[in-house]
């Protein structure tokens, strides 16, 4: 990954609202086709950030903790789905 602290590019959205990330920005962020990025809307701008496997797992574990707090005692995922199917 190239060490670039700040790099600004002005670009135009494509016909289907796609944004093409210029090569130097892709390289600076270590992105390649198939890489996953997170797009966050912040007030009047958007932030694009590379996402690693570890970050995706951390996000899932965060949700799993939230749901775990309310998880009914003694029940399993099988019980929850059986409720839907029985």
């Amino acid at each position: 990954m190239k060490k670039i602290d700040t790099l600004e590019v002005i670009t135009r959205l494509g016909s289907k609202s796609q944004i093409v990330l210029r090569k130097d920005i892709r390289e600076a962020l270590g992105l390649k086709p198939g890489s996953i990025v997170k797009i966050k809307k912040l007030d009047n701008r958007a932030e694009i950030k590379p996402v690693t496997k570890e970050e995706m797992i951390t996000e899932v574990e965060r949700i799993a903790k939230m749901i775990g707090k309310k998880w009914p005692k003694g029940k399993t995922s099988v019980d929850l789905i059986r409720q839907e199917r029985d």
């Binding site: 496997k53 839907e84 199917r85």
Partner: protein
């Protein structure tokens, strides 16, 4: 390797208090590493989000829906529509294996794609022994 993920597996990923959570996370990690290519039927999303909504609340159901849609958009999960052909296959499977309708949808998808089925549901695994491959982990 192609696998069909039952909704029990996806729900287990979303609760650290579920007894299958660590197994679910092993599967999730394999998905992220692209070691397995999971397939789910369209039925899975309403089933999972409905279960979360009915047992917890709307907000958590929407958070899970957003996660699942992110995985689908980024091709970590491949979603298959229940069309007329699949309706016939699922019906045959429901009759042939004495399964409930929704169970048969997942099992027949595994048959169609020659994929291994991942489920934590013993009721299903007992009925399909020798008919569909089951992923062991």
């Amino acid at each position: 390797m192609r696998v069909v993920l039952d909704s029990t597996v996806l729900i287990s990923i979303f609760s650290d208090k579920d007894k299958f959570h660590s197994d679910g996370m092993k599967i999730f990690s394999s998905i992220m590493d692209k070691k397995i290519k999971p397939i789910i039927p369209t039925l899975a999303l309403p089933e999972i989000c409905g279960a979360i909504r009915r047992n917890f609340n709307t907000r958590l159901a929407e958070i899970v829906e957003n996660q699942l849609n992110t995985w689908i958009t980024n091709e970590f999960l491949s979603i298959k529509e229940l069309n007329l052909e699949r309706m016939k296959l699922s019906t045959e499977t429901a009759i042939g294996c004495n399964l409930k309708g929704a169970d048969a949808v997942f099992v027949s998808l595994a048959k169609e794609f020659k994929a291994e089925l991942v489920t934590f549901d013993r009721e299903v695994t007992n009925k399909i022994k020798g008919k569909v491959k089951l992923l062991k982990f």
